[in-house]
Symmetry: C2
Subunit: 551 residues, 2 copies
Amino acid sequence: MNLFDTHRPLLDAALHAARTRGHWTPFPEMPSPAVYGETAQADGEAAVAALFGRDYPLAQPGETGRVAPERSPYGVKLDIRYPECEPQALVAAALAAEPGWQAMGPKGRVGLLLEALLRIHRRSHELARAAMLTTGQGALMAFQSAGPHAQDRALEAIAYAWKAMDDVPAEALWDKPQGKHPSLVMRKQFEIVGRGVALVIGCATFPTWNTYPGLFAALATGNPAIVKPHPQSVLPAALTVSVLREVLAEQGLDPNVVTLAVSERPEVTQALATHPAVASIDFTGGNAFGRWLLEHARQARVYAEMAGVNTVVVESTDQYAAMLQNLAFSLCLYSGQMCTTTQNLLVPREGIRTDEGHKSFEQFGQDLAAAVNKLATNPKIASSVLGAIVSRDVWHRVDAAQGVGRTLLASRPLPHPEFPEAQARTPVIVALDQADAAIYRMECFGPISYVVAVDSAQAAAQLAEDMIREHGALTLGVYSTDEAFIGRMEGMGRRARVALSVNLTQGVYVNQAAAFSDYHGSGGNPAANASYTTLAFVADRFVVVQRRRHV
Amino acid sequence: MNLFDTHRPLLDAALHAARTRGHWTPFPEMPSPAVYGETAQADGEAAVAALFGRDYPLAQPGETGRVAPERSPYGVKLDIRYPECEPQALVAAALAAEPGWQAMGPKGRVGLLLEALLRIHRRSHELARAAMLTTGQGALMAFQSAGPHAQDRALEAIAYAWKAMDDVPAEALWDKPQGKHPSLVMRKQFEIVGRGVALVIGCATFPTWNTYPGLFAALATGNPAIVKPHPQSVLPAALTVSVLREVLAEQGLDPNVVTLAVSERPEVTQALATHPAVASIDFTGGNAFGRWLLEHARQARVYAEMAGVNTVVVESTDQYAAMLQNLAFSLCLYSGQMCTTTQNLLVPREGIRTDEGHKSFEQFGQDLAAAVNKLATNPKIASSVLGAIVSRDVWHRVDAAQGVGRTLLASRPLPHPEFPEAQARTPVIVALDQADAAIYRMECFGPISYVVAVDSAQAAAQLAEDMIREHGALTLGVYSTDEAFIGRMEGMGRRARVALSVNLTQGVYVNQAAAFSDYHGSGGNPAANASYTTLAFVADRFVVVQRRRHV
C-alpha cells in the first residue's frame, strides 16, 4: 500500500475535524509514558544531549562552514554546529529537486508528508527538549507546543492543501453540442504546479508551531522548501528537516526538496528572500523584518505573522476570582513571550461590577498583580509556567518597562530549580492612563502588561478598535456580564477583524488556539496577513496548468 | 422562498460543473430568438440607442459633473453622460454600505447576486449592443463575450466564492475531555468578513467578461465594490452596476454596495487604488498601469491580468489545411484584440512536415497569410469576425508593424457594410527571424502577428519557455504529430506555468477559454497573477473572524 492510502484515514479524519471544528487531535498533548513510551522522555533528552558540541549531521550543497548560533535561555551550553550554506546553492538545489517533487503529484506528496509527520510525532520528546532548551519554554509547554500542537498545525495545513488541490480534477472530457453537427470533444488535463521555491522563516519562540503550517502547506502544494530557522532556535527545525530528508531519500527523491539555511547574517536571509526563484515566503517574527520582506521580496507572496497589540477589555464579571486566575495564567505562560499574549488590559477608571462587589481600578490592578505574583512565586509551578527569557532584548525591555507608569508588580529574578544559569524573571505589570497612548499602543514583547485606566467601557472598546486597526492584534478578550456590551465588542471584532474570546474563566486562555478548531490570526489586521489555517493560506501556493486537445 | 433557496439549483449545477469541468452553461451562447425572445435583439438595440446623448440614469454620492468618454470604434456617436464622482465620496459610501452587506451573510449575498445575474442575463442583447459599440467587437462575438460567456464567468466566480465560504462552518461546539474532570466546552462562532472595499478596474476590450469575475467574487465574499470601467467602454459596466443597485434597493439594502467610478483622469483611478480602505483591486489592462498598481497600491491585494507574449509552436501537422484555418480564425477574431490572441508563431526555418508534404518556412508564411486574407476579404463574415479597431493606439501599432521585418500580409482598411465610419482594417503578418528578439519578445497588442523562423523545433520550445517566463503568456499552442515533442512542450508549459492547447484544428481556438472548464490564465507567469477561476481567486477576499465562549 502506498503512503497516501496508508495514511488516508488520518487525512480524512483531519478534513472532517477542520470542517466541523470541534475538539480533535491524533497527537495526545500529555506526555504520558503510557502513550509515548516509558523511556521516551529520557531518550529524547539523551538524543538532544548527544548533539551538544558536535557537528549536526546534515550534508547539504554549498556548505561554507559550520555555525553554532544557539544560546540557551536555560544557560545550557549547546554548541551544536550546523552547516552554513551559500544561498544560491540552496536555491539551485531546490530548483533541481523541484521536478521530481512535482512529479509525485498531490497524493504522492501528501502521503509522504503524512509519513514524515508521524515520524516527527514519534520524536516528540526530542523536539520538546530541543525547543525547551532553545526557546526557554517550560518542559510541558515545550512538549505541547513543539510536539503535538505543532504536529496538529502541520496536519491541518496538509489537510487544507489537499482539500484545495483535490478541488481540481486531474482531467475532464469536454463535449460541446454543435446542433446538427458532431459535438466538439476535447480531453483536458489539469495539473497542480507549485509556484516555485518556498522560503520558511522561523521565529525564536515557537520554532516548530509557527514553522510547520507554512512548511507543510508549501511542500504539499508542490514547492521545494528552504527552512530558515531563527538563529536562536535552530535545532527543532533541523530535526524536522532531517526527518523530511530521510523520508524523501527513502522514497527515492532528492532530499533537497527540503533544506536548512542557518545563518546569523541578515544579508543571507535577505538574499534568499529576494531571490527571483523564491515564490513564497512564510515569516513569523518582528514587524521590522516583516515589513522589510513585504517591501523588498516583491517577487514572492509573503505570508507574514508579525506583532500586534493584544488587548483584553474588562467591563464587568460574575466570576471575579476565576477571571483573575485566568488572566494571571495567561500573562505568566512562557513569560508572556507568545505572539498571542495580552499586553493591554483596558479597565474603566471608575472600576467594574463583579460578583464580589464593585472593584475600583486600583483594586483590580492590585488583585491582578497579586494573582500573577502568587503564580510566579509558587515554587511548584512558577518555573515550569514562566520558563526563561528568550533573549537579552526581552530582558532589557522588562527593565525599561519598570521605568514607565506606576509599577503594580515589579519583576524579579526567578532562580530555576534545575538550571542555575537560567535567564528567568517574573512578569512586570504597569498601571497606565488612557492618555499614555504613546506607551501602550506600541507592542512590547515579553512579560510586560499594562493595566490602562480608560474613561469608560465604551471608550475601551473604541480604543481597542483603533489600536487593532492601526497596529493589529492576534487576540482580543472581553469580560462582561452585559450581553449588549459583548455584542458591541463582537461588532468591533468584526470591524477590526480579530478573534474575540468572551469571559474566559476556565482552562482555556486567550493566548491559546487549538488546531482544527480555532483559526490562529484572522489575516485581516496588521498583525498578520494570513491565518492558520484557511483555504487562503494554501490555495495560492500552486497554480493549475491545463492542457487540452481534441479527442 | 428567499433568493438563495430560489437559485440554489443553479448554484449547485455551477458547483458541479466547476468540479467536473465538462461543457456546461445555463446561458445559451447563440442569440436565438426562440431562446432570448423574438424582439430581444431589437429591444436591446433600442434600449441602448435611447441612452445616446443623454445623462445616464445613475445617482451616486459625490457627483461633481458628467462625462461622456466613450468613442465608438464603429463611428457611432454615443455621447452618454455618466456621473463623475469624488473618489473619497465613493469610498465613504462603500464603507457606509459595508455593514448591511456584511450582515446579509454568505447565503443572503449569493442569493442576491444570482438574482441580479439572471436579470443581467435577460438583458444580454442590451449588454451585447453596448459592448459592440464601445469595444468594436462584431455583433455575435459581442453578444457572446459580453452576454452569456461573461455571465458564465460571473456564475463561476459566485460558485467558487460560495465554495470557499461554505468551507467555514457558522459555529461549532468544542468539547475537550479533561480526564476525570468535566470537559472544557466552548461554543465557537465563525463569521465570514470581507477584507474591505473592492476596486474593479475594467479594460477597453472586454468590459464585462474581464470585470465580472473580480466583481462578483468580491461582492459574494462580503466586500462593497467600486467598478472603474475603462473610459472607452463604460456602458456595459454601467448597465451591470444599475442592475445590481436595483436589486440591492429592492432588497432594502444600500445600493452603494456597488458604485460606478467613471473618469478619464488617471489621478482619479490612482486615488481610488491607493485609498487605505481599498483592500482588493481587480485589474485587467496593460502592463504599465498593472505594474504601477502592484508598486503603489500596497495596501491592497491586487489581482492583475496584464499582457503577455502568446505563442504557437508549429513543429508538424497531419491536418495542414485545418491548422491554417484554425490559426487564421484565431488571428482574425476581433482583430487580434484579445489578451489571449497568438502573437508569435515559431516555425523551424527548415520548414515542417505536413499531410500535404514538406512545407518550407516561406510556404507556411504564405499559406497562413492567404488563409487570413481569405477570411478578411470574405464579405459575408469579414466584418463580423474582425470587428473594428478599439483605439488609435492599436491603429498606429498596425502601421508601425508594417515597417518591421518582411510583411507577409499587409493591412488594409476594411469598409463596414453597416457603419461607414467604422475604424476597421485587416490584420498584418510579418516574417521575422529568431535574431529579431527585440521585436517579437515585446507584446504588440492588436491584429499583428509575427511568423518567426527559428533554428529548430527544440529551439522554438526553448525560446517560448524563456519568453513566457520573462514576459508571461495567457495562451500557448503547439502543432505536432510527434508525441515526444508534445511531451516536451507539456513539460515546458508546466515550467512556464502556462496553459497548452495541442493541435487545435476544429471549432476551438487557442484564444478561447470556456468557463467551468478552462482556467483562464494560470496566475503563475508574468501575464497574470490570478486565474479565472480557482479557489485562490476567491479565498483571500475574506477572513474568518471567530468568537468563543464557555458553554
